[in-house]
């Protein structure tokens, strides 16, 4: 039966299906419903997890790290300030090669206190070694959390996975979705190096200049392997459960003269803009990037590229825009829009495309020519 739930609730439902051994939980708007729902499931017996109500987000990730080294499947959720506070430990989780899954409900960074959607929080984690994916519907949030556990725990990956949902825009919207019985889609976790006094090891000990760099290369090697693992996992999900996802979601891109690239719910809103432009005779398409780390190969040859960044790297530019410029060696029209939950409608997106200025950057709401 179709249910109608929020993005947050769908995440919690998927986590319940995945049966983590340990959940570390700390509230922060707009993620709080996830940790509350999981508390409910644990309390009424629907989820047999150890639930640790930690005292801060730094501790949330540290607790997940501990539980994972002890061989457990772990989950936590955060946003914005919480993710930033966690940052020392997100680095640790990836460096320690632990398959932790985390839902990050994208929210802007203070000051000022702003509760609404922005991707800068997750963008600031892009160097850590975490896999990152951005979802755009309640259904996709549910499906992707399930796949995240399997991808993270795959022997060729063994890296943590961050599933990003737009704060309020997706976390709080109610949409219909279908649940699945994963069955053996997510195999039981097996961490060969888990704590074992009979086979004692030191975890994360001192590594000198002659050794440390090798660990970092191993992370990158697994990141590259992860592309195959992601594609295989998504293909099998499609075969088993009827919904197939790609590294990206392309809408009317094949014969497009201009493509708009974005992350999250803006990628869905953009499709409405595309339909409007197509009716006007403009051959536009939308490319919603799903996986951000590892960054996929994109086919943008012969097309004008408009990139919407719901983030910014001060003194440099929009992170998605410069990722595409450098990966694809292409000039783009970089639009900075949606910061702090700034309203961006399909009409606005159509405007970005109609009035594009390739090679330039503009800040929606600030630059006069947008």
């Amino acid at each position: 039966m179709r249910k109608i739930v929020t993005g947050n609730k769908a995440v919690a439902e998927a986590v319940r299906e995945a049966k983590p051994d340990v959940v570390a939980a700390y509230p922060i708007t707009p993620q709080t419903e996830i940790v509350e729902t999981l508390a409910d499931y644990v309390s009424n017996g629907q989820l047999a997890s150890q639930y640790i109500a930690v005292e801060s987000e730094h501790s949330a990730m540290a607790a997940c790290i501990g539980a994972a080294i002890a061989g457990g499947r772990t989950f936590t959720a955060t946003s914005s300030q919480g993710l930033a506070y966690m940052h020392e430990m997100t680095n640790w989780a990836a460096g320690a090669r632990l398959p932790i899954v985390m839902a990050n409900v994208n929210r802007s960074l203070a000051p000022g206190w702003n509760l609404w959607a922005e991707h800068t929080d997750a963008m600031q984690e892009r160097d850590t070694g975490w896999l990152q994916v951005y979802v755009s519907t309640v259904q996709e949030a549910y499906d992707t959390i399930l796949m995240a556990f399997r991808i993270a725990e795959h022997q060729d990956v063994l890296l943590p996975v961050m599933v990003n949902l737009d704060g309020f825009t997706l976390s709080h919207i109610m949409q219909p979705f279908d649940m699945v019985e994963p069955g053996d889609f997510i195999p039981p976790i097996h961490l060969s190096e888990m704590i074992d006094p009979k086979n004692p090891k030191g975890y994360g000990t001192i590594a000198g200049p002659a050794e440390y760099f090798r660990f970092r290369w191993e992370i990158e090697r697994s990141m590259r392997e992860a592309v195959n693992v992601i594609e295989e996992t998504q293909a099998e999900f499609g075969e088993r459960f009827g919904r197939t996802y790609g590294l990206t979601e392309e809408y009317r891109c094949d014969d497009a003269d201009v493509v708009v690239v974005s992350l999250g719910t803006l990628g869905k809103e953009a499709e409405v803009a595309i339909d409007i432009l197509r009716d006007e005779g403009i051959k536009a398409g939308s490319l919603r990037l799903r996986w951000f780390r590892p960054f996929p190969e994109l086919n943008l040859a012969g097309k004008d590229v408009v990139v919407i960044d719901r983030d910014y790297s001060f003194g440099f530019g929009g992170v998605l825009a410069h990722s595409i410029r450098s990966k694809n060696l292409v000039k783009v029209y970089s639009v900075i829009a949606g910061l702090g939950g700034q309203e961006v409608t399909y009409d606005d997106i159509a405007g970005f495309i109609r009035h594009r200025r390739i090679g330039e950057e503009s800040w929606f709401g600030v630059n006069a020519h947008v």
Partner: protein
């Protein structure tokens, strides 16, 4: 696509009303999304919820600018909030009120949800429950079927007083 904006105060169940309406639309075989617009948790503050209903999957996330229908669960927000903002010409307003209301250029329906709730003893923490009866009133306007409205309510609440209140609102809403 049909767009509805619901005005209420935090703690009155406006968000649940949006969800029930979306569920009812789903039961009718349509697509629907429902979303609140608010920030930090603050009981008693005016809040707005959005519902979109369409035959096709809904890809719009931005706020509803020109609703077809406005629902006012608590008329006391009206001095502070322009509840009519953006309402399409000839659009409809459904207002929780004992008295007939008139807004020029729009169709206005009123129903006394509060007294229906009190009559059915449908209360929580001393306040009347408005979100299930309002679904009954909305069914009368035709945007969802009465059967789907009832199954949506039963899907969330086991207490049949909710159904009776919805049926009463269906009967009593002004047309």
């Amino acid at each position: 696509m049909f767009e509805i904006r619901i005005h209420s105060r935090g703690g009155q169940g406006g968000v649940t009303a949006a969800r029930l309406l979306a569920m009812a639309a789903l039961n009718d075989g349509n697509f629907a999304t429902a979303c609140p617009f608010y920030g930090a948790e603050r009981r008693g503050a005016p809040i707005v919820s959005f519902v979109r209903i369409d035959k096709h999957p809904i890809r719009i996330y931005s706020q509803i600018r020109n609703p077809d229908l406005i629902v006012v669960l608590d008329a006391s927000v009206m001095p502070a909030v322009d509840v009519l903002h953006g309402l399409k010409t000839g659009g409809r307003i459904l207002i929780n009120s004992a008295h007939k209301q008139d807004f020029a250029g729009y169709v206005t329906n009123h129903v006394d949800l509060t007294s229906i709730a009190l009559r059915e003893n449908l209360m929580v923490a001393g306040s009347p429950i408005l979100n299930t009866p309002v679904i009954g009133a909305l069914a009368r306007t035709g945007i969802v079927s009465a059967d789907s409205a009832k199954s949506a309510i039963r899907g969330m609440f086991s207490d049949e007083r909710n159904i009776r209140a919805a049926e009463a609102a269906y009967d009593e809403v002004s047309t």
